[in-house]
């Protein structure tokens, strides 16, 4: 297999995109409507999918129009290699191919406890230890080998993180062992840093930023449980200042960045336009406009 440095050159630059999942258009932003009304603000659609629900009409129509997509899995435990069975691989590959996804991505850790079954769904971060990182890397290598698609792991959100590694050290180890790209979710990183009492940019100076293929931006909110303060990954239309700080630090240094997603699909389009405009200014689809925008 070719090295990441070679493979990354073959991935398209997608620009700024919108996230969505099954039938989200009925409850939030319809990607097709958004594209028709604001063609310069979103350039691809990241579809969050699982085998139980499959694809919806919105993403099918989007793909049928020849517009670019990525497939964000919501149903695999990268940290648990026995979860990655032939059925999931074949079906996920088929779904991703049906919408001509440029790559696969999704939170590393666990999307369910135990079996992939109704009621078991619960997004959990990996245990931040070397053993888990190596198993995650093995899973990614298998997914990439069997689907023929790049698989880009994302740092997940949580209120509780266990393990002796910093989240960024964990993903650096995964990327190195699997020789893969990574998806840096700026909002999730801000959540992690707050949970450990660290500054938003802590650890980024030692992270291999050239591994970053995609970034996520989303709104968050400060929450409290009997005096215990934490950040909730609530996907509101307003990203926290810490999220912007991370994005703006990483952006000029992430030399292989191909896509930024604003995860805001549960809001109204009007609430999200300013953020889309700001992201497009920071990361234009046409790379030559980058210098002018900054």
């Amino acid at each position: 297999m070719t090295k990441f440095a070679e493979r990354i050159k073959r991935l398209p630059r997608l620009g700024v995109g919108l996230s969505g999942e099954f039938n989200i258009a009925a409850k939030g932003i319809d990607a097709g409507w958004m594209k028709a009304n604001y063609p310069d603000l979103i350039h691809f659609y990241e579809y969050g999918g699982d085998l139980e629900r499959g694809l919806d009409d919105t993403v099918r129509r989007w793909a049928a129009a020849g517009l670019p997509t990525t497939y964000h899995f919501l149903d695999i435990n990268l940290e648990e290699k026995l979860d990655i069975d032939a059925h999931w691989l074949a079906q996920t590959k088929a779904l991703a191919e049906e919408i001509n996804a440029a790559w696969l991505c999704g939170d590393a850790g666990r999307w369910h406890f135990g079996l992939r079954e109704r009621g078991h769904g619960m997004l959990m971060p990996p245990i931040l230890c070397r053993e888990s990182a190596l198993e995650t890397a093995e899973s990614i290598q298998r997914i990439e080998a069997e689907t023929g698609l790049a698989c880009v792991p994302e740092n997940p959100p949580s209120v509780i993180y266990l393990g002796d590694l910093h989240m960024l050290d964990y993903f650096a180890l995964v990327a190195d062992r699997a020789d893969c790209g990574v998806l840096l979710d700026c909002a999730h990183l801000a959540i992690f840093q707050q949970s450990r009492g660290l500054s938003p940019l802590s650890g980024l100076d030692a992270f291999p930023l050239e591994r970053i293929v995609e970034m996520h931006v989303a709104g968050g909110g400060y929450a409290d449980m009997d005096g215990f303060a934490y950040i909730e990954d609530n996907h509101s239309p307003e990203p926290l200042a810490e999220t912007w700080e991370i994005l703006e630090y990483v952006l000029p240094r992430a030399t292989n960045l191909k896509a930024i997603v604003f995860e805001c699909e549960r809001n109204t389009p009007e609430e999200c336009l300013d953020v889309f405009a700001r992201l497009n200014a920071l990361f234009p689809t046409d790379k030559t406009k980058v210098a002018a925008a900054r």
Binding site: G114, L115, E117, M122, M124, D164, F228
Partner: protein
């Protein structure tokens, strides 16, 4: 200790507040047998204990999913106990813990919890046991269908050797129940429908009540075949001979064996052949290696 073991512990702590209290109060006792290193134990106890409660609706959301599959059973239990805690204690019990430890189905664990409640007398409605068994059979069919896929019968061979084996196709099962099980289910469904018209009416003193469940007549039985239908798993009435024949096919069995013991199944060989042919053609039975 592997990260897998630690994750199982995390799941348990996210669902079971009493266990969290035990872990913080007496870690040696609560975590005994879990082979935690001192570092891992330190990491776990360093988590602010309030953090485990950050999602107060987690148990209710999960219970909602479980109750979708065991809708009638849980309704009868809640009507009887008038206590949500009677069902929420599932998350603090052995069936749930074992399902996490063994990476098994939580739905199945919940059906075992409900059946255990019948046996221990935690719920006493005479209708409940058969309704739990019936809902568990449907849940089991759904899972086998998901894991094994839909069986498409195709063209059957013109002759089938009696040495061939047959078994129920994925998503099919049979069961025998007290005769009033279906009327009891329909009675609860009517109650739930009425309540669904305005859920807040449950707060009223004159809200609809779940009373008058059809009585159990233990001497009378109904035999049912469960199988994939247009809207999930459907049920078909069977006569006793067909039930007993199909019961034998829960595991792959030689046709010859089925034909050789008609006496015990109250069907003669010719009737058994007819039953097998009917359900092979319908796709409920499949030829098996």
């Amino acid at each position: 200790m592997s990260h897998h073991t630690l994750q199982k512990l995390v799941v348990r702590m996210l669902f079971d507040e009493a266990f969290v209290e035990e872990v913080y109060a007496e870690p040696s006792r609560a975590l005994a047998g879990m082979e935690l290193t001192e570092t891992e134990r330190g990491q776990l106890l360093a988590v602010d204990r309030r953090a485990w409660r950050h999602d107060p609706l987690r148990r209710k959301r999960t219970l909602q999913t479980l109750a979708e599959e065991f809708k009638i059973s849980t309704t009868i239990i809640l009507a009887e106990t008038r206590s949500l805690a009677s069902l929420e204690r599932f998350f603090a019990g052995a069936f749930f813990h074992r399902s996490i430890q063994e990476r098994a189905s939580m739905g199945r664990a919940f059906s075992e919890f409900l059946l255990d409640g019948c046996r221990s007398g935690a719920w006493r409605a005479p209708q409940i046991q058969d309704i739990v068994r019936l809902e568990a059979a449907i849940a089991g069919c759904r899972r086998r269908l998901a894991s094994e896929g839909v069986y498409a019968p195709g063209e059957l061979p013109t002759t089938i050797s009696d040495r061939a084996c047959v078994r129920l196709a994925p998503g099919y099962d049979v069961g025998s129940f007290q005769a009033n099980v279906i009327p009891a289910i329909q009675h609860v469904e009517r109650f739930l429908f009425e309540l669904s018209l305005m859920p807040a009416m449950a707060l009223c003193d004159d809200a609809p009540k779940l009373t008058g469940l059809p009585e159990v007549e233990p001497s009378k039985k109904v035999y049912l075949l469960f199988g994939p239908g247009a809207a999930g798993i459907s049920m078909t009435n069977l006569d006793k001979a067909a039930y007993l024949t199909l019961y034998e096919t829960k595991r792959a069995v030689e046709i010859k064996t089925l034909l050789s013991k008609p006496g015990s199944m109250r069907a003669n060989a010719k009737q058994t052949e007819k039953i097998l042919a009917e359900w092979l053609e319908a796709g409920a039975l499949m030829l098996s290696a």
